[in-house]
């Protein structure tokens, strides 16, 4: 029967697609590991970029990502709470929610340009704070989205129970609802963190890069991702090797945080 043949063909093609997708994943991970592990030495971790290592880069990238998180999380969570609790059903909240959603997919290079105009140009030099702000701008909409979703997941009963017990509205919300959503919100934060720690474009002309170890955020700040971009274009083999080492480490970091985030959602019930 023609119908059955067509059916088989489509199903086989779909299965092949899935294996193509997985195939690329493994191809990339395997190449990365092979090249990356080969390029790692002790000095990779003990030296800064100026000495052929990536120590300052890892510290720098994490520092900026962490501070961005500290800034973005309260703002994002509060915004998410507002949208779900106070603005429930209002057109305004709906608009903000969708706009925020749109921002999660906005081109990150444009955000870099934006922050450059606000925080780098006027000051005359690249600085770590600008990088942090750029990362935070990317993070906030993501956290708004996940907080919003988590709160929406049937916490109505908990909320009503809380009101029955007395207590002002905001106290109830913060205590009960957030506690129940704690896992979801933590996952959201972890996934958002995993996302921004791998970002390059927003840092290119905000915090740029720094070969030396520094914690001075008013100056150019070391970045793992920007370094990879630079190193990959240098002709010498050592830079190339370092780029692979850095790529490998970065990927491991991102995937581990990602898997951690998913691990937490699994244990939700």
């Amino acid at each position: 029967m023609n119908r059955l043949l067509l059916n088989k063909v489509v199903l086989v093609l779909s299965t092949i697609s899935a294996f193509i997708g997985i195939g690329f994943l493994f191809w990339i991970l395997i190449t990365l590991s092979y090249k990356g592990i080969a390029s790692i030495q002790l000095s990779t971790f003990t030296n800064d970029l100026v000495g052929g290592g990536i120590r300052n880069l890892i510290v720098g990238q994490f520092t900026m990502a962490l501070i961005a998180t500290v800034v973005a999380v309260p703002l994002g969570v509060l915004a998410g709470i507002y949208l779900r609790e106070y603005g429930h059903g209002s057109k305004f909240a709906s608009l903000i929610r969708t706009l925020s959603d749109v921002m999660t997919s906005a081109p990150s290079i444009v955000i870099g340009v934006f922050v450059f105009a606000l925080m780098v140009d006027p000051v005359g030099s690249f600085n770590g704070w600008a990088g942090i702000v750029a990362l935070a701008i990317m993070m906030i909409p993501i956290i708004i989205g996940t907080t919003d979703n988590m709160l929406a997941l049937g916490l109505l009963k908990l909320r009503e129970a809380g009101i029955a017990l007395g207590g002002s509205k905001h106290k109830i919300i913060v205590q009960i609802v957030l506690k129940a959503a704690k896992v979801g919100v933590t996952t959201g934060i972890l996934l958002a963190f995993a996302r921004i720690i791998g970002e390059t474009a927003p840092l290119l002309f905000t915090s740029a890069n720094n070969q030396f170890f520094t914690m001075d955020l008013t100056d150019q700040f070391p970045s793992l991702t920007v370094s990879i971009y630079n190193l990959a274009t240098y002709p010498d083999a050592e830079s190339r090797e370092l780029a692979w080492a850095a790529s490998f480490i970065l990927t491991v970091i991102v995937l581990v945080i990602n898997l951690l985030g998913r691990y937490f959602t699994r244990n939700k019930h």
Partner: protein, 284 residues
């Protein structure tokens, strides 16, 4: 007392997204003024990008980066869409339950790999392969388009999968109960039912692809010229910005802002259309 403060502060946080959005448009528009007044809309069809002497003045046109952005995105979409649909179909209708979870996670990990890693891998491993099959330099429009496709496949597949999963089981069972094959159920019931989400995922992926920077920067060649063949190098707006923004001054810098504005406007519109009309409330 604390309640009111809390409410106000969370309201402020909520509107922050909106203000940032408006701020971006405002700043970009403002700083693009010089270029906007000098070139107007001609900017969009001018192929030249030439700083003047002493870095002042010059002629700048966005045609090449705009075309490069559109072409690389087009190639990516043509390649990615059928594969992403195939993966979604596999995950929702074909894979046995035990395989679905690990496969889904694998697809989502693929999406989590940073853009710059795709660039590294693409440049050193994939470009030579493209070169040996298609000729050219390895680095060019085609390579960038293919790797861009690989990047958006998991994204599109995940959203399509979620959309297809909303189809009620009884609806599918009804179709089987009339004697339909699995493909017919997918074609006539599942896909029409999740039509909105599927179209939305395609449009959203397009919006994402437009703004993709690092991988494309590694692979498109960064040459200010229109590609004659598909393997020729060219450039795109994000790539031009990534490479040249930091050093640009005066009119050239203003032209960069102009490009950034175009990029932001177009991708914002595309993504907004996807979200507002097709996708409803989603966490992507």
């Amino acid at each position: 007392m604390g309640g009111q403060f809390f409410k106000n502060f969370s309201f402020f946080s909520a509107t922050l997204s909106f203000f940032i959005l408006v701020g971006i448009f405002a700043v970009l528009f403002n700083l693009a003024q010089e270029s906007l007044y000098t070139f107007g809309f001609d900017f969009l069809y001018t192929e030249i990008w030439e700083p003047g002497e002493d870095d002042e003045g010059g002629i700048f046109g966005g045609y090449i980066p705009v075309v490069g952005t559109l072409l690389s995105t087009l190639i990516a979409m043509i390649l990615a869409t059928p594969i992403a649909m195939g993966i979604a179909i596999f995950l929702t209708e074909i894979a046995p339950e035990k395989i679905v979870k690990p496969f889904s996670i694998a697809i989502e990990l693929l999406a989590a790999i940073p853009s710059i890693i795709y660039g590294m891998w693409g440049l050193f491993y994939f470009a030579p392969i493209v070169q040996s099959i298609f000729g050219g330099n390895g680095v060019g429009l085609l390579t960038a388009g293919i790797v861009l496709a690989i990047m958006i496949i998991p994204f599109m597949a995940a959203i399509t999968r979620d959309s297809m999963n909303t189809t009620p089981d009884v609806l599918k069972e009804s179709a089987y109960a009339i004697g339909a094959t699995k493909f017919e159920v997918i074609k006539d019931v599942v896909m029409p039912y999740s039509k909105g989400g599927i179209i939305g995922s395609i449009i959203l992926s397009l919006g994402r692809a437009l703004g993709e920077t690092m991988a494309v920067a590694f692979l498109i060649g960064s040459v200010m010229s229109i590609p004659g063949k598909v393997t020729d190098p060219t450039t795109s707006i994000p790539v031009l910005l990534a490479n040249n923004f930091a050093e640009a001054q005066d009119l050239e810098l203003s032209s960069m802002y102009y490009l950034a504005l175009i990029l932001f406007l177009v991708s914002f519109t595309v993504i907004a259309v996807a979200k507002f009309y097709f996708l409803g409330r989603k966490k992507y």
